[in-house]
């Protein structure tokens, strides 16, 4: 059961949200979503606060809280029911919770996309090109007949940096490499792995 955990300060802010109706909360949600991409203009903030008759700092706290709910919800992949409950438990009115839940769900996918760009990225495989050569002679040895495979790996850094590595092998090592990697691929279908995948949700 995934839940959003609010700290005491946030709980106070939630109670304060109850003094507004759902259309205003809807506006808050819209502004909060935008604030995730770009910081809110302080003049706009002050004007809005004046219209609502509240101090600007308080408005900012409420907007920050809603933004936090949106981001945390995306991070935890929370579902509607869990999110609704988390907010109602700390005292938010039902209709207002509905508005916020709708906003979180709408933005979840996009946010998760952004967050997946912040993941730890190792060098990842992109493509392999290979070439089969026969070595006929070198400066030190003539009359050779040695097969050789050239491998060109394309790697992706994750930060849009591409790396190219050119390696070579001989017949024996190529077979060893292929067999080992095939074995690795078959591991995914093993009972052990299937059990793990099923049970970690």
């Amino acid at each position: 059961m995934v839940q959003l955990h609010f700290n005491d300060r946030q709980k106070e802010t939630i109670i304060f949200l109850n003094s507004f109706d759902d259309s205003i909360i809807g506006e808050f949600c819209r502004i909060s979503t935008e604030s995730i991409h770009k910081e809110i203009n302080s003049k706009t903030l002050n004007n809005a606060a004046a219209k609502l008759n509240i101090p600007p700092m308080q408005l900012k706290e409420m907007l920050d809280l809603i933004a936090w709910i949106i981001i945390e919800g995306a991070r935890l992949s929370i579902n509607e029911k869990e999110l609704q409950e988390s907010m109602i438990i700390v005292g938010l009115k039902n209709e207002l919770a509905n508005v916020i839940v709708a906003s979180v769900m709408n933005n979840m996918h996009l946010l998760q996309n952004y967050m997946s760009n912040m993941r730890i990225n190792t060098l990842s495989y992109n493509n392999l090109e290979w070439r089969l050569d026969v070595k006929l002679a070198t400066r030190s040895v003539l009359e050779l007949l040695e097969p050789e495979v050239i491998l060109k790996f394309d790697f992706d850094d994750g930060k849009n940096k591409k790396e190219v590595k050119i390696l070579q092998t001989d017949v024996v090592n190529l077979n060893n490499l292929t067999n080992n990697l095939e074995e690795a691929l078959n591991e995914i279908k093993s009972n052990h792995c299937r059990r793990v995948f099923r049970n970690i949700v």
């Binding site: 997946s116 190792t122 070198t138 590595k165 292929t178 080992n180 970690i200 949700v201």
Partner: protein
């Protein structure tokens, strides 16, 4: 195949039975060929000439050095051109060696020919050579920015030999299941085409 004149002169000196008896030649050649040692621990050729034994020959030091050097040159050239015993015999005959001496040389040469060719071919320009592979299958459960990821990922490590370096270096990368499938498919294609080549 040509040898430089200095080496040729030294060889002719060695061919002369008055300078170097057949037995002495046999001992000398054995010493030289035995220096191509294969170090089984390292799995490589580690040539080493035991110079102490050279003192037992009663030839002046300078001539002995030149003879040794010219024999090494000769052996390298024979191996390089992949000479068979007939061609070797012809060349040594022209240099003035007796049939006895030639037979002794051929005996050792045949034994060590492949090893010497292997040693010579180790000094070519080449790309880093893949010698081994390690792999690891992980299951990503969560990260600090994203929970509930639940994705399997492979970490592959290729052990690579670079020419001129004794230590192996590594090429590490990660890939998803689909990417590994692609990689294995392409490697299998490559192996199959090598097999087909062997059948031609």
């Amino acid at each position: 195949m040509e040898i430089n004149s200095k080496s040729l002169a030294a060889l002719k000196y060695a061919a002369n039975d008055e300078n170097l008896s057949t037995q002495s030649l046999e001992a000398l050649i054995k010493l030289i060929f035995d220096s191509f040692i294969v170090d089984l621990k390292v799995g490589k050729l580690v040539p080493k000439l035991d110079t102490k034994n050279l003192d037992t020959f009663d030839i002046p030091k300078v001539e002995l050095k030149e003879i040794c050097a010219s024999f090494y040159t000769l052996i390298a050239e024979f191996a390089r051109h992949n000479f068979d015993t007939v061609s070797v015999s012809t060349f040594l005959e022209d240099a003035g060696f007796s049939n006895e001496k030639i037979n002794i040389f051929n005996q050792f040469y045949l034994e060590k020919q492949e090893i010497i060719r292997l040693f010579l071919s180790s000094s070519t320009a080449s790309f880093p050579h893949v010698v081994d592979v390690n792999w690891r299958l992980d299951y990503i459960v969560k990260e600090n920015n994203l929970e509930r990821i639940n994705e399997p990922v492979y970490l592959i490590e290729l052990k690579v030999e670079k020419s001129g370096e004794t230590e192996l270096s590594k090429v590490q990368f990660s890939c998803t299941v689909e990417q590994l499938q692609d990689l294995v498919f392409k490697l299998k294609e490559a192996s199959k085409s090598v097999e087909r080549l062997a059948q031609i």
